[in-house]
């Protein structure tokens, strides 16, 4: 299993541009999450999904959108990029079972908005 994969690894955007960060998991997990990590801080939840077709806002959703059309994929859309969105973005997934809601993280996407 590849686990949680994210693309791209790095991206530089100009102010006002848009982009989609891709996230996929092959563990058949129902739960998927997007977090951002600012320098010297822990992670903060942007959006999450409990299954295909169901998404909800986390702690810091402004400036982002998500969709979940399949179990495997959970893309994050940035519209009208701003310097405040410069951050490292992590996607995570979680299932159920013996490990409960243990979350597994992708390698991250480092985004710079200039």
């Amino acid at each position: 299993n590849a686990g949680v994969t994210q693309t791209p690894k790095f991206r530089i955007l100009k102010i006002g541009q848009s982009m989609t960060l891709q996230c996929a998991q092959d563990m058949n997990h129902n739960y998927m999450y997007w977090y951002r990590q600012d320098p010297g801080m822990g992670l903060k939840l942007i959006y999450y999904s409990v299954g295909a077709g169901i998404t909800d806002k986390g702690e810091v959703p402004n400036g982002y959108n998500v969709s979940r059309s399949t179990t495997e994929d959970f893309p994050l859309r940035l519209e009208l990029a701003a310097p405040s969105q410069t951050s490292v973005y992590f996607c995570a997934s979680a299932g159920t079972g013996t490990s409960g809601n243990e979350q597994f993280f992708g390698p991250g996407t480092r985004l710079t908005v200039l």
């Binding site: 999450y33 822990g42 939840l45 992590f90 995570a92 809601n101």
Partner: protein, 108 residues
Amino acid sequence: GIQVEQSPPDLILQEGANSTLRCNFSDSVNNLQWFHQNPWGQLINLFYIPSGTKQNGRLSATTVATERYSLLYISSSQTTDSGVYFCAVFSGSYQLTFGKGTKLSVIP
């Protein structure tokens, strides 16, 4: 919301030394995870430990849910242990709430 505090914020160890990292949380939790973020930024799962004690090689963790804290023990530290250690708790709202981390530097 739930608060997560980690201590110490920074720790410098000589290779071979032992250490204890602490995580305090302000409310009951359903899940607690410890992560290691290596110098390349990758988040590595160390323990899923809502309560009790677990061990994995040189690392072990104990969570005392009734007293709202968890401890991560690192024995015989190695330079590859360097990085930031995060504690994160899940209180049933779908969100993992992270502490600010403990930055560990292991020097040869």
